[in-house]
């Protein structure tokens, strides 16, 4: 991390030496985390799996932002997990005006309320990201490489637009495209819509982004709407996304997965004539509500979150490119309800504690019949995050 920082800082300061009006800011944050999942059910088994508690430091980020006149550079280096260092963002942005700018490099795609701030846990009220960004069943890739964007001010409010493309889910000749347009009224209201398409079939998908690794080829798009209201004390967020997929299933690989339940086996014809053509929708929506209670200089924010996610194609085992949440459910759907609180003794420090209940139907008997029973299990998490500025 040190090496990246040093090089980037030298690069920024080298330019700075030639330009008196350049402004450079440094930010950073650390997010330490503990999670404990209750004993959880598994497909094809009535025996629950024991889960060990897990400590992690998922976000260790150092950010350098520099600007001069109409040009901006941004670097976000992470050492997430305390292991490998990687560059999450490194881009240069040139704006012709507020309404039109070009950004080039490696960046998070504007896509709803969270994609650009997902690593920055201190800034939002929950601990877990909305389900569309859960790395085990992501709806789409987070990063892209080229963006045209701008902001049009209309009196008290503004409209921000963006068009993106990049490596994303690119494989072969497809050209992935993302778009996001949002209306903002100060800090109070934010309402928008997002769109993404792989721009054609991804050959040999590797399971990253929204693709599934047991497909020989796959294409998908994602469309969603979102809104946020932030009053003096209350924050309310709502969003919903749908992602139609079309692909060719490698039935030899898929049907050999031992964790497939009867629903998935029947759907893919694993017990009769395997069906290679895959055509399914992934859906998700969420609601998040938080209320700030002032305690002197400190703030306590109790919150409630409701998440729904459905992906009927994805298997259960992570070894098969699967997901232990959607892959557990016998129709791929689960809901997650979370209650928790954030305590901020001051603005830089956030202590968070929350508890979630997962609810889904699970097929615990492998007999060729979908005979699931309603199962639920809980998990609790603790997070401590801190940010600084130089």
């Amino acid at each position: 991390m040190k090496k990246y920082l040093l090089l980037s800082s030298l690069a920024l300061f080298a330019v700075s030496a030639q330009a008196g009006q350049m402004k450079t800011s440094f930010y950073g944050y650390i997010d330490a985390y503990y999670e404990n999942v209750d004993d959880s059910p598994s497909p094809n088994s009535t025996t629950k799996t024991e889960n060990a508690g897990e400590f992690d430091v998922p976000n260790i980020n150092v950010i350098v932002q520099s600007s001069k006149d109409n040009t901006k550079a941004f670097l976000n280096v992470t050492g997430g997990g305390g292991g490998n260092t990687s560059v999450n963002n490194a881009w240069i942005d040139y704006s012709k005006s507020d309404a039109f700018a070009v950004r080039f490099g490696k960046m998070y795609r504007p896509f709803g309320l969270y994609n650009e701030i997902l690593d920055a846990v201190p800034t939002y009220i929950g601990i877990e990201p909305p389900e569309l960004f859960d790395s085990d069943h992501q709806l789409l890739t987070r990063e892209t490489n080229f963006m045209l964007h701008g902001k049009v001010n209309t009196g008290d409010s503004s409209v921000r637009w963006s068009l993106t493309t990049g490596n994303d889910d690119k494989a072969g000749k497809n050209n992935p495209i993302g778009a996001d347009i949002r209306w903002e009224s100060g800090t109070k209201w934010k309402v928008g819509t997002s769109f993404y398409t792989t721009g054609g079939y991804i050959s040999s998908p590797d399971g990253t982004g929204g693709s599934t690794q047991h497909m020989t080829e796959e294409k998908y798009s994602v469309t969603g709407i979102y809104g946020q209201y932030r009053g003096d004390n209350i924050t309310v967020q709502l969003a919903g996304y749908v992602s139609p997929h079309e692909g060719t299933r490698n039935t030899t690989t898929y049907c050999a997965y031992t964790s497939l339940d009867d629903f998935r086996k029947n759907r893919a014809g694993c017990n009769s004539t395997p069906i290679a053509a895959a055509d399914y929708d992934v859906e998700t929506y969420y609601m998040r509500v938080g209320y700030d209670v002032a305690l002197g200089d400190a703030t306590l924010t109790p919150y409630f979150q409701y998440d729904y996610f459905k992906n009927e194609e994805i298997p259960f085992s992570k070894d098969d490119g699967g997901d232990k949440e959607a892959g557990l459910s016998n129709n791929g759907a689960f809901t997650k309800m979370t209650v928790g609180a954030v305590y901020r003794p001051d603005f830089n420090l956030a202590l968070k504690l929350d508890y979630s209940q997962h609810l889904q139907e699970v097929d615990t008997n492998s007999n060729g019949i979908v005979d699931g029973s309603a199962e639920n299990y809980g998990e609790y998490r603790v997070s401590m995050s801190y940010f600084w500025r130089l």
Partner: protein
């Protein structure tokens, strides 16, 4: 009773006269802003003056002057303002305004920042020296 009335009068008059003044570095050539323009600047919808010059912001983080400013201009409280700017800073959408202790610190900061814009206690305008007092219509 006389003391109670006196105390109430002091509190009410203090509340009534808690006002802000917008100040800018003279180099920006900024003399007037509409309320919508000031809101756009302080909420990060733009980082430029109507004349196209880049601005850098500072703010006072607490007290009646800050309360009056945020209520009227950003139409939210200081915690929401700080939270929204932190999101922008950590995602590359802008550089968060610098928090200052009081009007004197803001005045010193704006003097030393060629692109500086901030608010101060209306009663401290006389101490602003060669800073531009920006009229908000």
């Amino acid at each position: 009773m006389k003391y109670v009335l006196g105390l109430i009068f002091c509190l009410v008059s203090n509340f009534a006269f808690a006002g802000y003044a917008l100040v800018a570095n003279k180099g920006l050539g900024l003399t007037t802003l509409t309320k919508a323009q000031a809101k756009a600047i302080f909420n990060g919808a733009t980082d430029k003056t109507p004349g196209g010059k880049n601005v850098t912001l500072a703010y006072i983080g607490s007290g009646p002057v800050a309360d009056a400013f945020f209520k009227e201009i950003t139409e939210n409280n200081v915690k929401v303002f700080e939270g929204a700017w932190l999101e922008k800073a950590l995602s590359g959408a802008g550089v968060a305004p610098e928090k200052q202790a009081d009007s004197a610190a803001v005045i010193a900061w704006v003097k030393s920042n060629a692109s500086g814009v901030a608010f101060i206690d209306d009663a401290k305008k006389a101490e602003a020296g060669d800073l531009q007092i920006v009229t908000v219509n």
